[in-house]
Each structure stands twice: as structure tokens, then as C-alpha cells.
Amino acid sequence: MADNITLTIDGKMVEVPPGTLIVEAAQRLGITIPTFCYDERLRSVGACRMCLVEVEKMPKLVASCATPVAPSMVVHTKNDRVIKAREGVLEFLLINHPLDCPTCDKGGECPLQDLTYAHGPAVSRYRENKIRFIEDINQKFDDKPLGPEIILNRNRCIMCYKCVRIVRDLAGEADLGVFKRGAFTNISNLNEVAYADEFSGNTVEYCPVGALLSRSYRYSIREWLLKKATSVCNLCPVGCNMNVEWSAGRVYRHMSRRNREVDDGWLCDRGRYGFDIFSAADRLFKPHIRRGSTLEPCGFDEALIVVSKHLRKIIDQNLGMQVAAVGSPTLSNEEAYAIRHFFDDVIKTPEIDFQTDMAHPVESGIIDLVGLDGAIRDLERDTVFVIVGADPAVEQPVATLLIKKAVSIRNARAIFIGSYDKRLGHFPITNIRIPYGAEGHALEHISNRLENKAASDDIRLNEEALNEIEELARKGERVHIIAGRNFFNHPDRAGFLAAMLRLRKLANARLSILPPQSNFIGVSHFGLFGDVDHSFNKILERIDSGEIKTLFVFGSNPVDEFPDRKFVLDTLKKLEFLVVVAPFMHPTASLAGAVFPQAMLPDYGGTFTNIEGRIQLFEPMSDRPHVAVRPAWGILGEIADLINLGRIWYHDREIRDEIARQLKGMAVLAHMPSDGFLFPFRSQEELETRPVNLKTLPARKNEHSYILQFAQSVHHQGWLTEKSNNLMRISGREAILIHPEDAARDGIVENQAVTVSNSDESITVTARITTHVNRGEALLVNSFTGQPANKLMSRDSSITYVSVKGI
């Protein structure tokens, strides 16, 4: 390590590590140098010149955001020369700025306004016409849509290049660029391709003026009328910190709340723009109870009484075993704990599971392995990523930024093993294509090489890529094996896991199995994970056989999620009593005897546990516009009261206090630190290697059959995100991807409507023809509930065969 550097700024000495920029060194002394284009997370461009300072012995003023410190530097940030230059820069920035602050979204939170207030001229010497970019003469504002969500007002742009750098260096895309020169320089999307990458909303948040706007927020409210609720995003397991900004019960936007350990101030567009799910038009705000064949809205107490009477009877007759409950991996830790506690201790039933989207539940050993090996920030230090059965860019977008950083800045290698190609922005990656289900086989090829064993000839792989992985692993690079969503629904999960564990050992790698849902780790560790014998699949069987007569569903939507739609529909209809806690009247809720409107963020408070095991607090908004919505613990608490057991919980904090008392190592929960705390959830013993016994690979049934696979996108994940108008505006429609050879044989052309069917059921989607998928396989992307894909699945088989026919 090189020695620290000592320098003087405004007469004060400061010691900083070499490479520190002057602006950062000043910050340490509490001296704020005004900046526009500087952002410590982006490469300096030194373009706005707002941060000019004087360095003794240097002839010109220097940009403090682009100049590293040097020993014995003497810097002046406030002398007359600096102030003159700074005022000059501000005046220059303002001459062609429209100063339409009264109608600009950024008003009130605008760095240009704030710095003009602090340093700027009060009157203008500029008497000329301002340069104006007129986009549409019939429009009131000079707004130019760059894509479905992002809108640009070029008049306001001060050319700080932050948006361009966010797109190019952070997201690794190439959709925004600079056009023209001189005073006519402007930002635009390249080739008129709609700008809608996964991180586009960050350009709006970090634009220092109101040049970039979100369609969902534009002209809707003044910033100072918004109140903020500290929150955590619930749409993926990274758990980005954010503020939910609301007024009069309506959520207007999500803004990042920078947590350097987790998100570093970035949000993906799913998390940022999914805020309107909260106020969706068909959101459920009233309980419903069934009268005859219809579900009718009712008061909260009325619904409570119906459910409580039913439960009282069951308890009195000691029939708790006839009751089952299933939660969802998006519930809070407190809800999970409350559900477990209520059904275990009050109802006395073991029939509890935490998710309904799997027919083959994960074994307890696997649950203890799920999560990130190490901290999120460690990702940027890995040098080789072997990403297998996962698409982290879609499943954990903001954490993937660190993989992109490692690849783009540190030249790390990202190698994707999967049956269809993935991308990491435009950063260089390698895709090793394998047949469906061959993840374990591919990993074994690598492990065999590392042990100098002969390769088997079960599959053929890209030798060059294998050589590279072998070489890197032998060189002792920091290898990180990452599995994800496809691991959980893999046809040979045990074999896949064993193969990963073997490679982990041989390559001395880290191994992470990342869950796709937000609080998978919290919900499973805080109570809802039981054992395989009481999985949702088993619960359904017991409903089918009449052993279970009452089912509580909290937050999940089995009719749309369970991989066998017909079976789940038929079975749920056999229940005597179905209670569903849901944010929407979805197909599962429609079957219920009683429906409670589910609280969504920020209706309530609590904690989530993210992929690294960080437990993070989210708070409710201080208004409670939706009087009847409750989190699971709110409903169960009141039921307990009504069945004369006394109300158990009034507040999420009480549940945390209880967990703090009851669970080892959880005492901190009673006093949640603001940046959360890391809870060591991963079991080390489960990492022991085990014999690898791979199942034979699934074969195509006949030449017209396809093995069906599923992929989501950042903007669309299923029945919940479907409720967001914002996300649906950005997201593409559903499509089925098939290989050109298959398409030619089956007479299917690009963009043709096709039916995808098994022997009984079919859905209609659009065909896309691409070599990114294998022959004999079909990839359904962006599945919508209108064409439910689980119609085609059967719980008896983890492989779905379909035929695809043009209409």
C-alpha cells in the first residue's frame, strides 16, 4: 500500500490515500465543492466545470472531480478566482436553460436550482433567444419520449453525461448517446430504438435537472408535497433500500435510499416503477365473504367473525389437523413468524408451507444452502463467475450490477451455462449452451477436467470455453458458482446440487444458490419452512383425499402459480373452507369462502431478509388510507382475539421483540440498525460434497414435441407485476422462442400467433424465431395470466412437453 498523501485545502491539512480526488479530500474536511457531473460511482468526465478549484503552482484552475491529490498540494476552493469561475459556469449553464422551474418535475429537488440559489447570479445578462428543442409543436411541453417510460426535455439538459454514463458504464447498454456539437449538443436514443433498459429509471433520479422524466411521475405532484416512508423493495431478493414517496394515500414514486452495502443507490426499473401495484384500480381494499355462489364485500369485522367461528369449532373439536396454511416468499419475516406460530400453537396443525409454485418442494438441506455465499459487495471482487441455471440480470438485477462492474472494470469472466443464451448488457460473456436439464452434466465435465478424468460423451460442449474455465480455476482465480431460479424447478435438482458441490470443492469456489423471490430466505428461516411431508403439493393431496378441509392462503396465488392448474383448481374446490389473504381478487381468491385484502408496502411495516442474509426494516406510511388491509399477523392477531385467546400482536415490533427473545442470535431484532444487520443463515455442513448421480437427460418425445421452459424479464414476473400499468407499458408481450430449424419444419414464421399445447390444454402466444434456444426446446417469455402457462404443466412431471402450431 502506498503511503497516504497530505495536502492543504483552504488552509486545513488533510491526509488521504493516493488516488483520492480533490473533491473527495475536501469532503473529508467538511468542505463541499459544488458539482454537477461528478458522481463517485461513475467515471469522472470533468465536463461541467462547476467544481473548479485553484491549486497553487498550477497555471489554470483544475476540475476537482477529475484531479487526484498530490503530495503537498495547496488547494483553494473559495478564493475570488474560484468564485468568479464558478459563477461564470453557473451563468453559462443557465443561459440556454429554460428556467421553467414552475412546471418542471425536478423543482424543489434540483441541484441546478440549489446551486444557483447558493452561488448563482440573481439577474440574467443573457438577452438573447434561448436555444429550444421543439419536439412537437402541438405539445405544451418540449418533451421527447425516449422509450415507454423515460422522457427527455432537451431544453433543460446541462450535459453532465450522467445518463450516458449510467447507460454505458453501469447497465452496459448502448441506447443513449450524444448528438451534435457545441451549444446544440444533445442527448438522444440511438437509432430511435426505444430506450428501456433495466436501469433506466436511475437516469431520471440522478439527472441533475428535470431533463429526464418518468412518464409515471411527470407533472403529477410537486416534490415538497410528498412524504417519504423508509422502505425496502419487495420485488426481488436483493432488497434495495428505497423511499416510498406518497401523498394522501397515493404512492407517486420510489426513490433510492442509498445503502452502500446493498444497492449503492441504484434501483432496477421493476422496483422503481412497480410502485403503482399499490394503487392499482382493482386492488382489493375490502374483505369479501361467500354468500351462496357469490363473493360479496363486507366489513372487516364481519369477515373476521365468520372465520373465527369456523376456527373456534375446529379448535373445540380438536380438528386442527384438518387445517392447512400456505404463505408466500414475499411475506415479511414477521408475517412468516406469525403464521407459523398461529397454526402451530393455536390451531395445532403441521400442514404449513411457504410457497405454492413448486410441485417438488426443496428439501431442508437445500433450504439451508439458499442465499449468497458472502456479502453482496464481495461480488465485485470475484474474477470468474460460473452462472448456471440462472439469469441474475433478471432475477437479482441490482446485485448483477456488481458482476457487470467486475467484468467491465476488472476484466472478470462471466460464463453462463444454460439451455438458452443470456446477456450481461453488452459486456463480454461466454454462453455455454447445454441441452435442457444438463446443468449437472456440464458441471461434471468441468470437474472431471480438474481431476484429470476422462470426459463422458453424454453431451457436447464448447471445448474452448471449458478449457478457459479449467485454466482459470487451476490458476486459483476467485471462482463463484451462481445458480438461480432454474435450480428450483430443475428436473434433476439433487444431481445438479451434487455437481455444484463437487466443482465448488475442486475449484475452491464460492457457491450461491439465489432464490428468485424477495423474502424466500426470511420466510423460510422465520417459520414457514416445514418439511417435505407437509409441502403444498402434499397439502393438496390431503385436500384431495379429504383429510384437509380448511386452507388459509397468505399472499400466494396457487391457481396461477402451481405447476398443474387443473389439479389445483379441482382440489381447491373440494375444500370446505378456503380463506385467502390477497391484494387482488385473483383466481385463487375467487374460489374462497372468505377473502381478506392483503396489506402491501407501504401499508405496513416489518423486515425482509435479502440474499446475503441482511435483515432490513421497512416502515409504513404514516397515513393509513386503506382501513381494512392488514398484514397476515394483523388478521391472525384479531382472529386469536375473537376466539378468546387474546389478541397476540398489535405491531410488527412486538413480533420482532418476540423473535429476539426466542431465537438464538436474534437479539438485535429488537433494535433494528438502520442499515440492517447480517444474519448468518447458511449452514456450512450442507456444503459437504456428496456422490454425484445424474439422471439421464430428458429426450424429445417425438420430432414435433418441444420441451417447454420459462423465462421472465426484469419488467414482468407474473400475476403481481401484471397489475402495474407502468411495468406493463415497458414490458414486452408474451412470446415463445423457438429455433429456426424447428420453425421451418413446423411452418412457423416470426411474429406468427401460435398455439402451444399439450394433449388437453393450450395457450396462444406469439412466436419468435431465434438461435438463442436449442432445437426441440421452446422458451416462453413474459407469461401472462391471460394465457396461463401452468395449464400446460403437470405436477407429476418436472418436464413439460408441448407442441407448437401456427394459427
Partner: protein, 430 residues
Amino acid sequence: MAEFEKILFKYIDFPEQDRIDTYMKNGGYAAFRKAVTTMTPEEVTDVVIKSGLRGRGGAGFPAGRKWSFLPKGTGKPVYLTVNADESEPGTFKDRELMEKDPHMVIEGTLIAAYAIKCKIAFIYIRGEFTFAARQLTRAIEEARAKGFVGKNISGKGIDIDIVVHRGGGAYICGEETALLTSLEGGMGYPRVKPPFPAVAGLYGCPTIINNVETLANLPHIINRGAEWFASIGTPKSTGTKIFCLSGHINKPGNYELPMGVPLREVLYDYGGGIKDGHNLKAVIPGGSSVPVLTADKIDVHMDFESLAEAGSMLGSAGVIVIDETMCMVRAALNLAQFYQHESCGQCTPCRQGTYWMLVILNRIEHGEGRMEDLDTLLDICDNIEGNTICPLGDAAVPSVRSTIKQFRDEYEYHITNKACLPGTTAPRFE
């Protein structure tokens, strides 16, 4: 008019000087051969340092000293980039060298490449210079056929290749870091310095950028020695300089003269005096980016130091002659237009400042000026100068500032009378 020996232009109009055989008959490639066979790269650098040769691209930085800034032992390749983007208004010397004596440029490039141990040199040439680009490309092929370019030159294990890259015709791409960005395939945006190109230039590797004329001097320095070169010109501005004469002058064109020659001699002895018998009003002595000199200052000597002392600069030695019929407001407007158009737009003071100056000048020229505009213009100049990423911003200032300072009466007349000073009408540059 003292007699002296031309160096760069000695054979400029010699028949077929652009062919390698003629060039070699006239002594060409002897210097390069001498360098690679009898001198180490360090010795070549040393000779160049001793010769006092200063960059001819505008800034006048000592060439040998620049080379010696290259960091040693980085393990990265070193690049040489020849700046042939010549776009400074009033400057057309590199073009003549490249078109008529391309081998001299190539030989100079080879010597510099040898001195800095560069294996691939790039010539970044202004897009409009089609003929010059063709001449250079052909010269490189001829030199390759003779074994001066390519692998294992002179059997000494030296590899040097030269690539001609044609620019898009943007003035800013003559600025050395914008040139590098453009060469890499990016938009011609200058980079913040430090790091200087010698440390992190093309593709992040140590890179030397030199002007065409600078390099063209090298064969002669190697052939005839540092002392000989240093004896020409003035002690601090050694050698000869090609002056590009344009404007209201009887004999416009390129003149190679020793550094330190009096401006009066350049104008009257070589340039043949002011056109149409008019009186001289002003001279811009170093390309459009330097302050104008009034007619009474023409006894100044044309070297870096003397011109600086006189309040201007040698710059690229584009001598623009302005006679009494020229409206100085119109002249300033003309140049302001150029700088506004050529500003890359990356940094605020240049992007907005050049535009603001242009609109004000336009207003004044069209009879809508206000007296306070003049102070505003001067203040804009102050706010641009020194505060930008690259020197283009600084270059846009002198024409405006110096014309206001020295011809304020013409501006005031314009503002008050909404017309040009009688007798000064429109620019007549042809």
C-alpha cells in the same frame, strides 16, 4: 532579404520529389538509416533535445523533452501519433509538406518512432485532405518496398509500421486528446489532463503526438546535427518555420523562413505587400486562435518569445493579414462562428460561451448592439479562458477580446450607428 538555406522546402517544388527514388537521390532516408544503424534511440532523443526543436502544432513544446516524459518499463506498447489534422484557420503548411514531400514526413515519423520505441505509428489526417492522404499512403508503400517500413528494418530487428487514419474533418480532432479519442473510434471529445498522453494516451498506452512539420525537421537534425539546427533562428526558437500567409496580401502562400524573422519582412519582402495598395490594419500572426496585432506592431520578430512579449503568439504561424477595408466586428464574428461551430460541446464554458459570444456579435453586426454588450463579451472571455477541458475554449477568446480591446471604436461605431465604420465593409478573404 537575407539569403539563407531552406530546409523543409529545399526540394518542395523539385520534380517528382514525392517519389521515393527522387527523394533518396536528394538525400532522403539517409538520416533514418543513420539513426537505426549508428545511434541508439536515446541518442536520437538526445540530439533532438539539444537541437532545441519545438513543436510546430501550436504550443511550441520542446519535442525531445516531450519524448523523454514517456514512462519506462510499463510493459505497454508505445504509440506515436502524427497530428496531420491541420484545421486552424489560416494554416496550410502541413498540407503542402504532405502533398509535395510526403517521404520527408514519413522519414521524420520513422525517426521519432525509432527514438521512442514505437512499433505502430498513426497519421491522423484531416478528412478533407484526400490528396495528401493518398500521397502518404503511397509513400508508406514505397518505403515498405525499400524496407524502411515493416518488420526487421535494416536487419536490426526493428519493427515500425505506419497507418494513415483519415479523420472526419473536425477542428477539435486536432487537439491531441480528442484526436486520440477519435482514433479509438469515439466521438472527438478531448480528455481531462492529467493523465497526459505520454502516460496514458491511445488505448491507455503511453503515446506521443507530434505535428507534421515538427517531424519533418527530424531527418535534417539527424543528418546535420543539433548544433547546426540550433544555430538557425533564435536561441530559444531554433530552426526554420513555415509561415502561411493569407488575407489581404499580394503573394499569399507558404514561406519557410528562419525563426525570429521580423513580421515586416514577411509581409513586405516575401508577401509582396498589402493587396490593392491598401493600408495594413492588423495581423493575426499565428492562426485564428491568437490575438491580433495592430499595424504598428509589425516590427515584432516571428518567434515564440518575441510574439508572446508583443501580446500575441506564434501558434501555428498562420499569418492572416487584414487591411483597412476590413470591419473588425465582422472579422471577429467570422471567427466566433468558427469556434461556436467547432466547439465539441463537452464542457460548459466553451459550449455555452462560444455560443453566447456569437449571438452577441451577430446582434452588434446587425445593428442591434448595446454598449454594455462589450463589457459582457469581455467578461465572457474571462469566464471561458482557462476554465475549459481543452484549449479550444481558450482559442476562441483572443479574436474577440483583442479586437474589442484594440478596435473598440469600430464596435462602438457599430452600436451607435448600426453600421460598419465607413470604408470598412465586408471581409474580402478569397
